[in-house]
């Protein structure tokens, strides 16, 4: 088995699965109908992407595990998503800010991954890039609308930016898995996209009249399996059915 590729796929898949799960929690609870539909549409795209990664990972692992096993039956330490995506929905400002930070990273990531020397990974990137460009447009428009909106919306989005800021440093952190994937020519060199990510974030925040926080402190650990307490709650909801009734199906 190509261990590097497997771990890289898990890292990518976990980001999409966990953020997709967070957004799906809002199904039927969005502040207005259009937002409800948009967030669940984005969740659906992310779930689809996660399936692509997990299906591929399960195939190359060749141990008989399926995409469902990979999504549902691992423990917290085995998840490799970044900390940002597991943060709670809180209010709409939080949900949108979390989405915007991730999209600002996800878009250049998919753009660069099109150039992967792994044909299937490149195909997934081509497909996902189109979807993510919609996500990015959606979340950045909301950042501007809320930031440059009323006093209330401005202060809420500023609070969300301040609170989530410490999680964005991890996005472009090069983990051992990333480094191995870069060396093998299949993964994206995160140092090469860092500038674009930062620029995406700064430009939109500026237009949204949001102050860039002066925080240099960075939270990380998700990529090596050390998560915030949030992930445990997510997995409890995601997995309890399979844990309580192993192998049950619809």
């Amino acid at each position: 088995m190509n261990d590097t590729l497997f771990k890289y796929l898990i890292q990518l898949g976990d980001n999409s699965l966990i953020l997709g799960h967070r957004l799906s929690e809002l199904c039927g609870h969005g502040p207005i109908l259009e937002v409800d539909m948009a967030l669940t549409n984005i969740a659906l795209d992310l779930m689809g992407q996660a399936r692509n990664y997990y299906q591929y990972a399960a195939e190359i692992e060749g141990k008989g595990r399926t995409e469902d096993d990979l999504a549902m039956l691992r423990d917290a330490r085995e998840y490799r998503n970044c900390l940002l995506v597991e943060q709670a929905n809180e209010d709409f400002a939080y949900t949108i800010t979390r989405q915007f930070f991730f999209d600002a990273f996800h878009l250049p990531l998919m753009e660069a991954m099109k150039g992967s020397n792994d044909e299937r990974l490149s195909a997934i990137a081509h497909k996902s890039y189109k979807e993510v460009s919609y996500h990015y447009r959606y979340s950045s428009e909301w950042m501007k609308r809320l930031g440059d909106g009323t006093e209330e919306s401005h202060s809420r989005i500023q609070d969300a930016v301040d609170d989530l800021w410490m999680y964005i440093g991890e996005l472009c952190e090069v983990s051992d898995v990333d480094q191995a994937a870069i060396d093998a020519g299949l993964g994206v060199d995160l140092n090469a996209i860092r500038q674009t990510v930062e620029q995406n974030i700064k430009e939109v925040l500026k237009e949204a009249t949001i102050q860039i926080p002066e925080i240099s402190f960075k939270q990380s650990g998700g990529k090596s399996g050390i998560h915030t307490e949030q992930l445990g709650f997510i997995l409890a909801e995601l997995q309890w059915m399979q844990r309580a009734y192993p192998n049950m199906e619809w």
Partner: protein
């Protein structure tokens, strides 16, 4: 009788898109190829959207229809090159409009979707160009929600992808 590729395509024309049933999967442009293996007919299709739940159903429907006609088949999903709305056939676009869904207006090569500039989408009901987007995301992954400022009808727009 010998089963030809044309015959298979004729049958595939009868498989509708579960979300937009006026369109056949051929109109949608998701059938890549039909290949004859030893005893199986392999139908190669490509997903429209990664998470589109209709894809599983389409695969099942193709298999069932071919089976009814005595043909055993295998459905293969390929991702590359990625599906684009440019592959919607002209007939498909016409059927969409008649169904009340505005067909995609631009080629996907135009970057408007990234810069956020609006495109001109005409109302499928009264043909007015005075329309506005209500929501980028609609009832399914492939559609946005629009409203016509002239006839005041809301409508779906099949977005460029």
């Amino acid at each position: 009788m010998t089963i030809t590729k044309d015959y298979i395509y004729e049958l595939l024309e009868q498989v509708p898109d579960p979300e937009v049933p006026v369109l056949s999967i051929l109109d949608l442009g998701i059938v890549r190829d039909v290949v004859f293996n030893d005893e199986l007919v392999e139908v190669i299709i490509t997903p429209t959207y990664t998470g589109c739940p209709a894809m599983d159903m389409i695969s099942v429907n193709i298999k069932a229809l071919l089976q009814e006609n005595g043909i055993e088949s295998k459905i293969t999903l390929v991702l590359s090159p990625a599906w684009t709305t440019d592959w919607l056939t002209e007939a498909g676009k016409r059927k969409l409009k008649e169904y009340g869904i505005a067909p995609p207006v631009a080629k996907t090569t135009d970057k408007l979707s990234l810069t956020g500039e609006a495109k001109l989408v005409s109302c499928p009901i009264c043909d007015s160009n005075d329309t506005q987007m209500i929501s980028q995301f609609g009832s399914t992954a492939c559609k946005s929600l629009y409203k016509c400022n002239d006839c005041l009808e809301p409508f779906d727009y099949f977005k460029c992808h």
